[in-house]
C-alpha cells in the first residue's frame, strides 16, 4: 500500500529525515519508536503533506499513485488519516456539520452518493454507540473548549466515521488514562478486523497501547532513518533494556 524510498525532509531548512525507507502492506500494523527528535512525527506529517515539511528527495508510492503529487485533502480522500497530538480548536464550526462535510467530501471524491442529514445521524449514532463515545461532543463546536481527553475522543470519532485505509496515530495515548487507552485500542482493533486491508502506522513511547494493539513491525528511528526493525519483541526489549541496551546510542556516525 505504502512504499517510501529514500525520503529526505527538511523542517525550517534543517534536514530531519535523511533517506528513510519504509514499506507498509495492506493489513499490517507498524510502530515507529525512537528518541525525541528522531523524525517520527515528521514522517507522519510528511505523509499528510503538512506545510512545515519540505520534501527534498525521495519517492512515496501510495496505492500505485505518486503521493507527493496529491495535496492534503486529496490524500485524506484517498484514505489517509492522521490523528493529531494536540487537535486544534475551530470555534464556530459545529462538530456534527464538520463530520458530515468530511464524510461527504470523501464520498464525492470516490464517486459515491453523499449522505443527507438523516443518514448521517443514523450512521454516527451506530458507530458511537458501539464504543460508548459521548454523543454530546457532536453538538459542540469543533474541539472548542474540549478537554484533552475529549479532543482525543473526537479524533476517534472522526476515525470511525471516515473509515480510512491508512491510519496514522501520532502519540494518541499521551495524556490518556487507562480506560481511555482501552477504548482507543478497541476502536482501532475493531476497524482493523472489519477491513483486513486497512493498515496502521503508530507512534508511541509506551508499552500499554502496544500490548493492546499488537504490532507486526516495530521500527526504531534515529537521526532521520530507520536503524532497526523487528516485531513486537523488539518493543519489549526496548522497554526493558532502553535504547543503549539494544545497541542504539548517541554516537555520531
Amino acid at each position: 500500500m505504502l512504499d517510501i524510498k529514500d525520503l529526505k525532509v527538511n523542517i525550517n531548512d534543517k534536514e530531519i529525515l535523511k533517506g528513510l525507507d519504509l514499506k507498509i502492506n495492506p493489513g499490517e500494523i507498524h510502530v515507529l519508536m525512537g528518541q525525541n527528535g528522531a523524525g517520527k512525527s515528521t514522517l507522519v506529517k510528511t505523509l499528510s503533506a503538512h506545510f512545515d515539511c519540505e520534501v527534498t528527495d525521495g519517492d512515496i508510492d501510495y496505492k500505485g499513485k505518486d503521493l507527493l503529487e496529491l495535496d492534503v485533502s486529496e490524500r485524506a480522500n484517498e484514505g489517509i488519516f492522521m490523528s493529531f497530538q494536540n487537535p486544534v480548536e475551530v470555534p464556530g464550526v459545529n462538530n456534527s456539520y464538520f463530520l458530515r462535510t468530511a464524510i461527504n467530501e470523501k464520498r464525492k471524491y470516490n464517486g459515491q452518493e453523499e449522505l443527507d442529514t438523516m443518514e448521517f445521524l443514523k450512521l454516527s449514532k451506530t458507530q458511537l454507540a458501539k464504543f460508548d463515545i459521548d454523543k454530546k461532543l457532536m453538538k459542540r463546536d469543533l474541539n472548542d473548549g474540549f478537554s484533552g481527553g475529549e479532543k482525543k475522543r473526537n479524533e476517534l470519532m472522526q476515525l470511525l466515521l471516515l473509515q480510512p485505509e491508512l491510519i496514522m496515530l501520532d502519540e494518541i495515548d499521551s495524556g490518556l488514562d487507562v480506560d481511555a487507552i482501552k477504548t482507543v485500542a478497541t476502536v482501532v482493533n475493531d476497524m482493523l478486523q472489519e477491513d483486513k486491508n486497512r493498515s496502521l502506522l503508530m507512534i508511541t513511547h509506551y508499552d500499554r497501547l502496544l500490548s493492546l494493539i499488537k504490532p507486526d513491525f516495530v521500527h526504531i528511528l534515529k537521526d532521520g532513518k530507520i536503524v532497526k526493525t523487528g516485531d513486537y519483541n523488539l518493543a519489549l526489549e526496548l522497554d526493558s533494556k532502553g535504547y543503549e541496551g539494544i545497541g542504539i546510542n548517541d554516537e555520531i556516525n
Partner: protein, 481 residues
C-alpha cells in the same frame, strides 16, 4: 494539481455578475448643474414641489465640503465627470415592452420579474427592479394595494401619493446631514417607496434590486419605508453592477419610519463589483441609512452582508425616540483584494427604556482593510437605556487590516452599555486540520467564515440567507495565497 496551480485557478475566478447589458439608453451628458437637475425632474414627470426640493438641495450642496475623516483611501471624485441619469430607451409600461436584454439580465441575476404561479402556502417576493436610474418593474402591486400596502418607485409615489411622500421625505435624513445626502437630495434617481397601513402585516417580502449598468454614471437612489401603527414589513435590498475599469459612485439615502408598535426589518445583500486586486474599478458605496423608531414599542432592524463595492462608507443607524423602542444592527462586511470598508452603526437613545444591539463581523482578506466605526449615544432623557455591542474581526492571511473605532456618548447614568471586541485569525493549523479530514482549502475557509458569521446570517430572511452564504464563499475565493 499542485498548490500553486490551484491558487492561480481560484484567483482568476471572476465576479460572476460582471456582465454588461447592451441596451439603448438615454444617458445624459456628463456634468452637473441646475439644468441637469431640471432635466432629471422633467424626465420623471415630477411635480413642482419636488423639483423645488432638488434645487434647494443642490444650492446647499454647492456650499458644502466633502468629508475626509474616514479610514478610506480613494482618488478625488470629479463630480462633473459623472452622468446623472441613464434609462433604457424602450417604454416601460408593461413587462412586454421592456427591452428583452433587460429581462435577460434579471433572469441571469436570478431576480424574478414575473409574478410566479406559486404553490399554495408558498409566499412570493414582491420585486421592484431598478435598472440604472429607473424602476423597470414592480411586481405584486395590485395584491398589495388590496391590503392598502403601497410598494412603488419613488417617482411613481411623487405623482400618486404626493402627500405621504411630502410628509416623510427628508424627515429622517435632513438634506444637509452630510455632503452625500445633499448631493443625493438634488439628483436622486429612483428607489422604493413603501407604506404599510396600520395593523397590517405585509404578507410578503418586499425587495428592490438595483442594477447599475451604464458606463460613467452614478446611482443615487432614495428609498423611504413607513410602517404605520402596529404594522410589520420585511424589506430586502439587493444590488450588483458590471465589472468595469473605472470606479462608479453610488450615493444612496434610505429613510425608515416606524410608528407605535410597528416593526421594520431591512436587509441588504450588497454585491457591487469590488474592483480587481489592484483596486482598479469597483463601486464607491457612500450611503446614509437611518431609521427612526418614532412610536412607542417600535422596532427597526438592519441586517447587512457587504461583500462587494470597492469602498464602503455606511452607518445604518437608529434613532430610538419612542418609549421601549428597539434598534438592531447585524452586519457582515468583507474586505478582500484591495477593498476598503469603513462601516458600522449609530444607535441614538432618546426615549425611555430603549434597547439597541450591534453585532458587527468584519472579515479582512488579501489586502482588504476593514474599519468598524460605531456610535452609541444616550441622551439625558434616555432613562434605562441598554446597549450590547459586539464587534469581531477575522483576518485571513497577512496583508489585511482591521480597525475598530467605538464611540460612546452617555449622558444618563441609569444606562447599561456593554461592548465586546475580538480579533482572530484563521490559522494555518486550523486549515490544515480541516484539510486533513478531506475538506478542500476553499471549503475550509467557507466553513470557518460561516461559523464566524452565524449570528448575523441567522437574522436574514430565509429567502435571502442562501444567497448571502454563497456570496460569502465566492467573495473569499483565492483569499489564501
Amino acid at each position: 494539481m499542485s498548490d500553486n496551480q490551484q491558487i492561480k485557478k481560484l484567483l482568476n475566478s471572476d465576479y460572476k455578475l460582471g456582465f454588461e447589458t447592451l441596451v439603448e439608453s438615454d444617458t445624459f451628458p456628463k456634468g452637473l448643474d441646475e439644468n441637469v437637475i431640471k432635466a432629471i425632474s422633467k424626465k420623471k414627470d415630477e411635480p413642482e414641489w419636488l423639483l423645488d426640493f432638488r434645487l434647494k438641495a443642490y444650492k446647499k450642496w454647492q456650499k458644502m465640503e466633502e468629508p475626509s475623516w474616514a479610514n478610506l483611501n480613494y482618488p478625488e471624485i470629479d463630480y462633473q465627470d459623472i452622468a446623472y441619469f441613464s434609462a433604457p430607451k424602450k417604454a416601460l409600461d408593461s413587462l412586454d415592452e421592456v427591452d428583452p436584454e433587460i429581462l435577460k439580465t434579471y433572469e441571469k441575476l436570478g431576480i424574478p420579474l414575473e409574478e410566479q404561479k406559486l404553490l399554495a402556502g408558498v409566499k412570493g417576493v414582491a420585486v421592484d427592479a431598478v435598472f440604472d436610474s429607473v424602476s423597470v418593474k414592480t411586481t405584486y402591486q395590485e395584491e398589495l394595494e388590496e391590503l392598502g400596502v403601497i410598494f412603488c418607485s419613488v417617482s411613481e409615489a411623487a405623482n400618486k401619493h404626493p402627500e405621504l411622500l411630502k410628509k416623510y421625505l427628508a424627515s429622517v435624513v435632513p438634506v444637509t446631514d452630510n455632503y452625500f445626502t445633499a448631493l443625493n437630495s438634488a439628483v436622486f434617481t429612483d428607489g422604493s417607496f413603501v407604506y404599510i397601513p396600520p395593523n397590517v402585516r405585509c404578507p410578503m417580502e418586499l425587495s428592490t434590486y438595483f442594477r447599475i449598468n451604464a458606463l460613467d454614471t452614478g446611482q443615487f437612489e432614495r428609498t423611504i419605508i413607513i410602517a404605520d401603527k402596529g404594522s410589520y414589513v420585511s424589506y430586502n435590498e439587493g444590488c450588483s453592477a458590471p465589472s468595469r475599469d473605472e470606479r462608479q459612485l453610488h450615493a444612496a439615502v434610505v429613510e425608515l419610519v416606524a410608528l407605535d408598535d410597528a416593526q421594520i426589518k431591512y436587509s441588504t445583500i450588497q454585491n457591487w463589483y469590488p474592483g480587481d486586486e489592484t483596486g482598479k474599478g469597483g463601486i464607491l458605496n457612500f450611503v446614509t441609512k437611518r431609521g427612526i423608531c418614532k412610536g412607542d414599542n417600535s422596532k427597526i432592524s438592519w441586517t447587512q452582508v457587504e461583500t462587494g463595492s470597492s469602498l464602503t462608507w455606511k452607518y445604518p443607524s437608529c434613532i430610538l425616540k419612542g418609549k421601549n423602542s428597539v434598534g438592531e444592527f447585524y452586519s457582515v462586511a468583507i474586505s478582500s483584494r484591495a477593498q476598503q470598508a469603513d462601516t458600522g452603526s449609530k444607535m441614538i437613545h432618546i426615549g425611555e427604556n430603549t434597547k439597541s444591539t450591534i453585532i458587527s463581523k468584519g472579515i479582512s482578506a488579501m489586502h482588504g482593510v476593514n474599519a468598524y466605526r460605531g456610535l452609541v449615544k444616550v441622551a439625558k432623557s434616555a432613562k434605562n437605556a441598554r446597549n450590547i455591542s459586539e464587534c469581531d474581526s477575522l483576518l485571513i492571511g497577512n496583508g489585511c487590516k482591521a480597525h475598530t473605532y467605538p464611540y460612546h456618548e452617555i449622558r444618563n447614568s441609569s444606562s447599561n452599555i456593554e461592548h465586546e471586541a475580538t480579533t482572530s485569525k484563521i490559522s494555518d493549523e486550523q486549515l490544515f486540520y480541516l484539510n486533513q479530514r478531506g475538506i478542500s482549502e476553499e471549503d475550509a475557509i467557507a466553513m470557518i467564515v460561516n461559523g464566524f458569521c452565524k449570528e448575523v446570517l441567522k437574522e436574514l430572511p430565509m429567502e435571502f440567507a442562501a444567497e448571502a452564504k454563497e456570496l460569502l464563499s465566492i467573495s473569499l475565493e483565492g483569499s489564501v495565497g
